[in-house]
């Protein structure tokens, strides 16, 4: 008997090839896509109520996007060769496009939109700051100091166009990540055309929840009042998106159960044993049903402000854990059963190795550190300016 193995695994399957780092990859890109979609609500769909979170959402997206390729780099057997994906991409590979999708999203969408949004302030800060800060802001102006009303009007127009392009790009970014898994026909746990769309909606849910939590926490830390109209609106959109996401996931589940193809017995057993804690308890009950009830209650009843905030925060926190569990169940769950459908293996997470728990925790904390630097450099707070536009 091989330790950790029940039944029969093909001999090369015993060891998992995609570790917790690959769990982080869809989780982080999902947060990026979701945060950006929330930002676009204000910019393109004119949902004025969420304006206080517009810049926060953009900076959140950037902080996470900058970290997104790092778990992949750490995971590669030869990270020094990763650049080959740009030089000689294999066009039939779903994975080969990641570098291009990533670069497109980072440079054409996010950096450009943030730069246009902040340009006037960057120019002012380049002129008013002293010391090294002055040089940083001067560099950030990219040599463009024209902040005449006419120039700012052009900025706004271009920024709008970039956001319009950004929405399908955000969909592409995360739908594409779903496709990387959904197109693996050898793995019935992954192989479903629903995967990209499930990934997309769960991304939106996690990103919106992340910005909602960040907005609440940062307002508390800065001792500024929370705009309840904004928070209520975010929670409402979060609820709608989550209902769609949950429906899609349940559709997938019902479809698999009803079809009961040759993989069903094996997968069903896995969900009832090895994935029971992370899938049923963490993802479905705590990460989905509880937050859905909390969010739904606020749509149905008038709840006092203090309790409402607590409910939103609880829902947001649980959603972030639940979506992480969902990524875990997809990535790790998809490798726990044998492709012979005759056995199961165990994921033995290491601690301080290259693909262990410690680097994973550090990679998950890194976006917050980047976020703090970004917030210092490009303050997203708009008190006093909130309604100038």
């Amino acid at each position: 008997m091989i330790p950790g193995v029940d039944g029969f695994m093909y001999p090369n399957e015993v060891e998992l090839q995609w570790s917790v780092l690959i769990v982080l990859y869809p989780y982080i890109t999902g947060l990026v896509a979701g945060a950006f979609i929330l930002a676009s609500l204000e910019r393109v769909f004119k949902v004025e109520a969420v304006r206080p979170t517009y810049r926060l959402a953009l900076l959140t997206a950037l902080a996470f996007l900058l970290v997104a390729p790092l778990p992949l780099q750490l995971h590669l057997g030869h990270p020094e060769r990763s650049f080959e994906m740009y030089l000689t991409p294999h066009t039939s590979s779903a994975m080969a496009m990641f570098g291009f999708v990533y670069l497109w999203y980072l440079t054409v969408v996010l950096l450009l939109e943030i730069w246009l949004e902040y340009r006037a302030e960057i120019v002012q800060l380049a002129q008013s700051s002293r010391g090294p800060k002055r040089w940083i802001y001067r560099a950030l102006t990219l040599g463009s100091y024209n902040i005449s009303p006419e120039a700012l009007r052009v900025d706004d127009k271009v920024g709008y166009a970039v956001t319009v392009i950004g929405i399908p790009s955000a969909f592409l970014l995360h739908g594409y990540v779903g496709f990387i898994f959904g197109s693996v026909k050898a793995n019935p746990w992954w192989s479903t055309p629903l995967m990209p769309i499930v990934f997309l909606f769960s991304a939106m849910v996690s990103g919106i929840a992340a910005v909602m939590v960040l907005y609440t926490v940062s307002s508390k830390l800065r001792r500024t009042p929370i705009d309840m109209r904004c928070l209520d609106t975010i929670a409402r959109y979060l609820f709608y998106t989550f209902v769609i996401d949950f429906t899609l996931e349940m559709l997938d589940l019902i479809h698999r159960t009803y079809e009961s193809d040759e993989s069903f017995r094996s997968l069903d057993f896995m969900v009832h044993t090895r994935l029971w804690g992370s899938q049923v308890i963490l993802q479905i009950v705590l990460g989905t049903l509880v937050p859905l009830v909390l969010l739904a209650a606020n749509q149905l009843f008038r709840i006092p402000e203090g309790r409402r905030k607590a409910m939103y925060m609880t829902a947001g926190g649980l959603i972030l854990v639940g979506i992480f569990a969902m990524r875990w169940n997809v990535v790790i769950g998809g490798q726990l059963f044998s492709k012979s459908f005759l056995g199961y293996t165990t994921y033995k997470m290491e601690l301080v190795t290259r693909e262990g728990l410690l680097p994973a925790i550090l990679l998950l904390l890194l976006p917050f550190a980047i976020f703090l630097v970004l917030v210092k450099l490009l303050p997203p707070w708009r008190e006093g300016k909130a309604h100038e536009a």
């Binding site: 093909y10 001999p11 995609w18 590979s93 026909k185």
Partner: protein
């Protein structure tokens, strides 16, 4: 198994990529250059395995391991023992250490039992080749799925995409490794290490482009099957007397 013009363009493109990174076939396969008489375009390699002839001795696994310096705990080929106790039950399958030391006596009171040697199926429509983000894994013009060790990123997408569990990450090179069909031997006019050491002739290297190869007679007169035919990979490892329970 003719190579179409489209195939030739694809193969040519891949070779161009390999040439552009300065890799030679010797570097990729770790083999001596093919003999001068060897022309890739004249061959299309595969294997035929007769389940009824396999005795589960593990000679093939040992030979492969030795010939190719396969790291301990990983397998380019292995043998599974199927034991089916009743028609409506899951088969009992095992492959202790890939059967490198054969099998212990069975403890099951079984209805039927048989051995299934496994290896890379060298699929013509290979999912591993399809998903490799840099084209480091490819089908050679003579039909062997190979990995360019000088180019592989070690992302292991191909390991996930292989329906048969034939790939692993080599712990020393940190690149993906798998059966090469003993490319260094077959291009010298030899057979694979596993076939050469099979005492019952259960495994036979076949060349679909050689009109004199017995494979043509076997395919015409025997009932053969590939593993997981619904995967539509155009696997080139054929099995005679394969039971429906085998996955």
């Amino acid at each position: 198994m003719d190579i179409t013009r489209r195939d030739m363009f694809q193969i040519g493109g891949k070779l161009l990529v390999l040439a552009s990174v300065g890799a030679t076939l010797e570097q990729i396969t770790g083999a001596a250059p093919p003999s001068e008489a060897y022309r890739m375009a004249d061959h299309w390699w595969g294997m035929i395995i007769d389940i009824d002839k396999c005795i589960g001795c593990g000679n093939c696994v040992r030979a492969c391991s030795k010939e190719n310096n396969v790291p301990e705990g990983y397998f380019r080929t292995w043998v599974e023992r199927y034991e089916i106790e009743a028609e409506d039950q899951q088969p009992h399958v095992e492959s202790p250490g890939g059967a490198i030391d054969g099998f212990p006596p069975s403890t099951h009171t079984k209805l039927k039992s048989f051995y299934v040697p496994k290896l890379c199926n060298h699929c013509a429509d290979s999912p591993c080749v399809q998903v490799c983000p840099v084209g480091a894994t490819f089908v050679s013009p003579d039909g062997v799925v190979l990995v360019d060790q000088t180019y592989c990123l070690g992302c292991r997408y191909c390991v996930q995409a292989c329906p048969y569990g034939c790939r692993y990450l080599h712990p020393e090179t940190n690149t993906v490794d798998k059966c090469t069909l003993c490319y260094h031997r077959i291009t010298q006019g030899l057979t694979t290490a596993c076939c050469e050491n099979c005492p019952t002739g259960a495994r036979q290297l076949v060349d679909f482009k050689n009109p004199k190869d017995p494979v043509h007679e076997i395919l015409r007169t025997h009932k053969v099957e590939v593993l997981k035919p619904y995967m539509a990979t155009r696997a080139k490892v054929y099995y005679e007397n394969l039971d429906g329970a085998v996955r």
